[in-house]
Amino acid sequence: MKISEYDFLQKCLAQAVFDVFEMMVGIATCQDDTDGDNSQLRRGDITGVMMIEGERKAMLYLTLSQKNAEMIVSFMTGNDPHELAEEELHDGVAELVNMIAGRAKALLAGTSDHYMITPPFTIVGSQHYIVYKKEVSKFIMKFTAGDAELYLGITYL
């Protein structure tokens, strides 16, 4: 994939994050490019994952800390963070990545990056991270939503 294609895909994914958070969470997000290196492992407590299949197979994921997931899902539902069950947090993060993938898919319609999506799932564990058996093509984008940080990654399999 050429750099310009990466740029377009990243722009569509970033726009999808902005749209999903504005409409479903009610808060504005900003992309944070300040730390430069997008290849580092990002640790988190809850990761929503979707497999996507187009010209290439890829994994799209959204990683959050437990505290940030509680804040964001509470904004989505209008519930106090302490009222949210673990299952609801996991479901909320999975649904966020589902909608980000769906929104980006709509923005990419008619391009070579257009893809099919699978049902989302969630990886849970304190300070977990994802390791690959071989070097793969990937990029990770950092966003801020209020005080919360979140990472959206795509890895080509």
Partner: protein, 124 residues
């Protein structure tokens, strides 16, 4: 009056509940198509509108929509798709199968309420 939300996401059902209750409707929830059919087959449950996700485990939204439109006692109930599926071909497929409206996720609560009112009018 009652609205049935069929979605495998408990969080989406909660968000829908917020909009439905602001319109003074009551929300009934199902996590998939089979559970929703069980609810609809109970004659005591009077549903005015079905809000239907597409991608669900078990019986998906499209299969459920086709099933509803085959059953004489429930086929009159209006169905609105509420889904991440945004491809024009799928929208046409759902409308041809009997859905009367289509809303793509993500959505704002205001958009949800507007679409519900378009389908069945203001709450009681």
């Amino acid at each position: 009056m009652k609205i049935l939300s069929v979605d495998d996401s408990v969080i989406i059902r909660k968000i829908i509940r917020n909009g439905v209750e602001l319109l003074d409707y009551e929300l009934v929830e199902a996590g998939d198509g089979l559970e929703a059919l069980d609810i609809l087959e109970q004659s005591s449950v009077d549903i005015s509108l079905i809000l239907l996700d597409w991608n669900m485990p078990g019986m998906d939204g499209f299969m459920f929509l086709q099933k509803v439109k085959e059953i004489a006692t429930i086929k009159h109930i209006p169905v609105m798709m509420v889904t991440t599926e945004s491809e024009g071909a799928n929208i046409i497929k759902a409308i041809q199968a009997g859905a009367i409206n289509y809303m793509v996720k993500p959505f704002s609560i205001e958009e949800l309420m507007k679409k519900i009112v378009e389908c069945i009018g203001e709450g009681v």
